[in-house]
Symmetry: C2
Subunit: 125 residues, 2 copies
Amino acid sequence: MADRLSSTFSALADPTRRAILARLSSGARSVTDLAEPHDMSLPAISKHLGVLERSGLIVRGRDAQWRPCRLRAQPLKEAVDWLEGYRRFWEESLDRLDDYLRELQARPPAPAKDQGRRPRKRPAR
Amino acid sequence: MADRLSSTFSALADPTRRAILARLSSGARSVTDLAEPHDMSLPAISKHLGVLERSGLIVRGRDAQWRPCRLRAQPLKEAVDWLEGYRRFWEESLDRLDDYLRELQARPPAPAKDQGRRPRKRPAR
DNA sequence: TTATTAATTAACCGAAAGGTTAAATGAGAT
DNA sequence: ATCTCATTTAACCTTTCGGTTAATTAATAA
């Protein structure tokens, strides 16, 4: 998987892990603490924490026999930065305009709604 | 995987798929067109497109023998919306302050009023 | 009809994900 | 020393992922 962005998205692609992050946003927590809301064995949680740690989304400290986890949001920022590159595609007004432009691109002159497809040599651009 | 957010993040957790989305941001493209920059078989690309389609990030049309793919950014918006909930954690100044507050939480400073170091029963909060 | 081009489906494969239980480790508390 | 609690590691299992090649479907061109 190698690259940071992939490992961040992959870490976020699990509801348990997102719930853990949500929990951590109100402060550091021990592992058992984090496990409590989940119907899942402790080792399973420990593995999830491993994934989050490897992707840089948490750091684990040491406090006697507890290993308090802390949120580190830097990778989240990187994810958002990537996603922002697509903002124009979901901004409402542009979205519609865009759909329209794409429609034009896909079926150049032709009557508005179309569907009646006559043979063409090249794919839509 | 079920939930939308998971399937979006999971779709984004692959560099090939992100590259495909990037390519689509300049307009609809045929499958072979999308495959061209990748050192990978066509069926592999087709599978990636299947993942993107199932997560709602693209739609596939029909134009003669071509299946032009179009970007649909709605799921990206949902991903960003989720991530925005963590913005305060990466905003620079707050980040430092936060680290400091968390440090305090984790190891309460030397007691103002005795407390005299004696074992603690509960983890840091 | 046959051939060509675009794309998907089928069948398979090895590796990684996500879970389990059981055993091991670490740090106090007694 | 020993007990107990918090957590991780080991070993295992099943499913999903990401890729392959070979065969199939769909549409057009000759």
